[in-house]
């Protein structure tokens, strides 16, 4: 049995409490990184959602766990909207597999 974690600024993530996820409000980037590492080390969380305002600065962490089965670290938009991190990540995956991006290409 695994749990689902949500990391982000308090405003965005407090709602997720209501549906039963484990919510970790963090007020700055350092704290978010720390929390993420803690969750990963605990090995109890299969999915960790992170709001995009934090994960745009966390590409290193994303790279590191990209090829492992668990956990899935997934960016979600925060209160202040999407920065295109999630889309960018999928775009990178396509680029990695195909060589060029042929799916997200004509969006921007």
């Amino acid at each position: 049995m695994y749990k689902i974690g949500v990391i982000g600024d308090k405003q965005s993530v407090s709602g997720f409490l209501a549906v039963g996820l484990s919510v970790f409000p963090c007020e700055d980037l350092e704290k978010a990184k720390e929390t993420l590492q803690k969750l990963i080390d605990k090995n109890e969380y299969a999915i960790v959602y992170i709001t995009e305002n934090y994960c745009k600065e966390m590409s290193q962490e994303f790279e590191k766990y990209k090829d492992s089965q668990l956990p899935a670290i997934i960016p979600i938009p925060g209160m202040d909207g999407s920065y295109g991190v999630g889309v960018g990540r999928s775009k990178k995956a396509v680029e990695r597999a195909v060589g060029v991006d042929i799916i997200y290409g004509n969006q921007e």
Partner: protein, 228 residues
């Protein structure tokens, strides 16, 4: 293409030939695997794109309704209302094998308390906006889970495709040319040896014939002398 550093013998030639057949078959298999992976990956990536866009849109709506709720209610009341969730979500992770890539499959079970609803608070102190916010969030949630699974799968498959492609290229542009080149080299060398041997034999035979001729001539001369 550089050939391998081997002894040009018949035995090495046979083993290299065998290696070449294996390499060729491996190359074909890898190529097929890459193509199929690619096909499935692209399908997945397209689905993923649509899913992410819609989840992001829905989440923004959810945030909007939470914002409205928090505007109506005091922050203390709001965090108090959300503090104790009625349902805990656990997810089961099994793994699925897609083209020899092990991808996790997430299935969630919501443990709800008996007869409880999704709202973790009494209705007295909270506003209706919060209800609709929570409701729409719980509706988006399964799709967020699906998104997580799909994105993870896409990442893992991308990795596998990269690996397979590298193998295909290594076989096609390094292994196979090198083997072919080496086999050609050994064959040439062996042929050359064969020709060398042939000429040597011919030469030896010439010399022997010559010697025999001289011998015969001597015998004839001797016989002639005796006759005279």
């Amino acid at each position: 293409m550089a050939r391998m550093n081997v002894n040009p013998t018949r035995m090495v030639l046979t083993s290299l030939k065998r290696k070449l057949t294996v390499a060729k078959r491996g190359h074909k298999l890898m190529k097929d695997k890459r193509d199929e992976l690619m096909k499935q990956f692209l399908e997945l990536a397209r689905e993923n794109k649509v899913l992410r866009e819609s989840v992001e849109k829905e989440l923004m709506e959810v945030y909007g309704s939470f914002a409205i709720a928090s505007a109506v209610m005091s922050p203390q009341l709001m965090s108090e209302a959300l503090m104790y969730p009625t349902q805990g979500v656990d997810i089961d992770v099994s793994s699925k094998n897609v083209m020899s890539v092990n991808v996790p499959v997430f299935a969630f079970t919501a443990e709800e308390a008996e007869g409880a609803n999704i709202y973790p608070y009494g209705f007295a102190g909270t506003s209706g906006e919060l209800d609709s916010a929570v409701k729409s969030l719980s509706r988006v949630f399964p799709r967020m889970l699906e998104l997580a699974g799909k994105e993870k799968q896409a990442d893992l498959m991308a990795q596998e495709i990269e690996k397979t492609r590298r193998r295909v290229n290594a076989l096609e542009y390094v292994m196979i040319p090198r083997l072919t080149e080496t086999i050609r080299y050994i064959r040439m060398k062996l042929d050359e040896n064969e020709r060398g041997n042939q000429t040597r034999l011919m030469k030896v035979k010439d010399m022997m014939v010559q010697a025999a001729l001289i011998e015969r001539r001597k015998e004839t001369e001797k016989a002639l002398e005796e006759y005279h």
